[in-house]
């Protein structure tokens, strides 16, 4: 789960990371009021959980409350990479201006199996670009699980990044705070870009990004409440609530599969056979184990809520659950939903033949291999398109 900038920064601040004074507005009038209360010059920032807001025109300066209102009016309602801006953050500008921009983040290094702190004096820009062009300007330290962040690690980063020595102590507090926040809130990323040295010679986190591990939300109820429901489609929400893994894509063949790996493989095979005809997977969908009628019905509704879908491929491997039971569940669900696009069902595994027989008897199109199923689904979609 990605937090908004203002949420991330507030969490950082709980662990002693200095952030600009500011507040969130949902209307231009509110923006004006906040700017007036803050006094001085502000920056108006679109709150969408995606990078590249600046380039998209989602971040603008304002010298007066009037200007803040105008800029907020411009930004609110904008579409940035598919996200509608519903909130803007009004922050005080860095006091005395910005002398230097630094990059600082805590993330998980899967290869090392540790958390990692990453710093660069080349802040403010896309860190992946820095990493590609001048990797020697990025410094990394790993956090030993049994040890935590230690003073010498931030000293190393500060020394390597050549930060002014008089700021090392404050920098250590920010590094320790950012890691504490990462750890306390089960983040997979806490990032400050830029961490600036203000004209007054202080460190301040001007931007913030934070990703929370969904699996940890049971122990962080208040973080769960930070989820921005506006950023979720109705289908995604329904999927989340019914425990189905569902991700909308832009193809025309709906896929319903049990198991994430098999779901990805099914998408790949659909694309393999469909690409030359402009066909591809419309979604990733893992219905989990069992494939009971109710789950299948919910999954079908999710898939069909996308009007681009021209055919549906159901691919179920019967393991512990027998194929004939699965087939009956599918028929029951189809009976409920009555879909108006062609369906191809591929059953494999335990009692697959029996299952396919049940489906064939109900006039369903079935397949034995995954390749066969994908080819049939592509044909059905093309038939549907030309129909």
């Amino acid at each position: 789960m990605n937090l908004h900038e203002y949420q991330a920064k507030r969490l950082f601040a709980e662990h002693g990371v200095p952030i600009p004074q500011g507040d969130v507005a949902t209307t231009p009038a509110e923006a004006r009021e906040i700017a007036r209360d803050l006094g001085g010059r502000v920056v108006v920032k679109a709150q969408v959980p995606i990078g590249g807001r600046g380039k998209a025109g989602g971040i603008k300066l304002a010298n007066t409350p009037d200007e803040a209102e105008e800029r907020a009016a411009e930004i609110l309602g904008m579409d940035i990479k598919g996200f509608t801006v519903r909130k803007v953050l009004i922050d005080q500008q860095a006091p005395g201006g910005i002398d230097q921009e630094i990059y600082l983040a805590v993330l998980i290094d899967r290869a090392a199996r540790k958390s990692m702190i990453m710093g660069s004096a080349e802040g403010g820009m896309d860190i992946e670009e820095v990493n590609e062009k001048t990797p020697e300007k990025i410094f990394k330290v790993h956090v030993e699980p049994a040890v935590g962040v230690r003073g010498y690690q931030s000293t190393y980063l500060a020394s390597a990044m050549n930060l002014p020595r008089e700021l090392w102590r404050d920098f250590h507090k920010i590094v320790a705070g950012l890691y504490e926040c990462f750890k306390a809130d089960d983040a997979s990323l806490t990032e400050i870009n830029p961490l600036v040295i203000t004209g007054e010679g202080k460190l301040m986190a001007l931007d913030g990004k934070m990703t929370i591990d969904d699996n940890s939300l049971y122990r962080h109820p208040r973080l769960g409440e930070m989820r921005d429901l506006d950023e979720e489609t109705d289908a995604e929400k329904e999927a989340r609530l019914s425990g189905i893994n569902f991700i909308q894509l832009d193809g025309n063949i709906g896929c319903m599969v049990n198991g994430a790996g098999l779901a990805m493989a099914t998408m790949d095979v659909v694309k393999n056979y469909g690409d030359e005809y402009g066909c591809g997977p419309a979604n990733f969908l893992d219905i989990g184990g069992g494939a009971k009628a109710e789950q299948v019905a919910t999954a079908l509704r999710l898939i069909l809520s996308d009007s681009n879908v021209e055919a549906v491929l159901i691919n179920i491997f019967g393991g512990i659950t027998r194929g004939d039971i699965v087939a009956e569940g599918i028929l029951e669900a189809l009976n409920q939903i009555q879909p108006d696009v062609p369906m191809v069902v591929r059953l494999a595994g335990t009692n697959a033949a029996e299952g396919r027989a049940i489906l064939a008897e109900a006039n369903m199109e079935t397949a034995v291999t995954l390749s066969d199923a994908a080819q049939k689904a592509v044909a059905a979609a093309r038939g549907g398109a030309s129909a």
Binding site: I108, R110, A111, R113, K114, S115, E128, E144, P145, A146, K183, D186, S188, D213, D214, N215, S216, Y218, R219, N245, I247, L249, V257, N258, G259, A260, G261, L262, A263, M264, A265, M267, D268, V269, V270, K271, N272, G280, P281, F284, D286, F317, G319, I320, A348, G349, T350, T369, L370, S371
Partner: protein
Amino acid sequence: MSILVNKDTRLLVQGITGREGSFHTTQMMEYGTNVVGGVTPGKGGQWFEAAGQRVPVFDTVKMAKEATDANTSLIFVPARFAVDAIYEAADAGIELIVCLTEHIPVLDMIDARAYLDTKGINLIGPNCPGLLTPGEAKVGIIPGSIAIPGNVGVVSKSGTLTYEVIDALTKMGIGQTTCIGIGGDPIAGLSFIEILALFEDDPDTDQIVMIGEIGGNAEEQAAAYIAQYVTKPVTSFIAGRTAPPGKRMGHAGAIIEGKAGTAESKMAALTAAGVTVAENPDEIARIVAERMN
């Protein structure tokens, strides 16, 4: 022969009295796995009965280990208690821990894996289907009916996709030494490399099937390892070529982050290491079969 689990496996099931735990323990006992006991805190002293046998239930793994001399433990407990269960098995001296539980927070697994490493204990999973040595031991939920003994080692991050491959091999009469799902979480126990090393050393394994997916760089690391150390033929498939960056494909680890973790990178690395990479998963059994001749 086989790797990790076999006739000498003395299996303990943590969470044996739960719904999933009791169902699958029954399946394992029916398969012939040597289940020696179970653990459910507060239910010590009860018995678990299945397949015409009964095994004792203990309050803690320590007590179970002392009474049964179990060497392997299978964890079937909910996510919020699963990490404790891993530590418990480790502290009791269990040698191989298999954790099926999904949705364990990743920072918990970083700590747990680091701890297990200091003790030299092997973990499979979490969020995995477990292991199956056909005809000897089923430790997890891989359906016993789809596998037969043979000379192909199968290792995978996936569940049902693996069953597909095993099923296809079996249908062509090709049996398996051991089938292992290592799970698709970002931080897990034994990785491809460690399993590849075990298969390489297993005299009965003649070929290896390795099924990867997007996310992380375990497949690239495996490719480098194969190029240097693995002499047996390896056939592979990487799921997720059509997955867009930044979207998690079910498994917590299956996500393309920036330019890292793409299927292309993994397939290229494997191909360069001499691995045959299948375009579709149903090609795998055919490739393996051709190699048999």
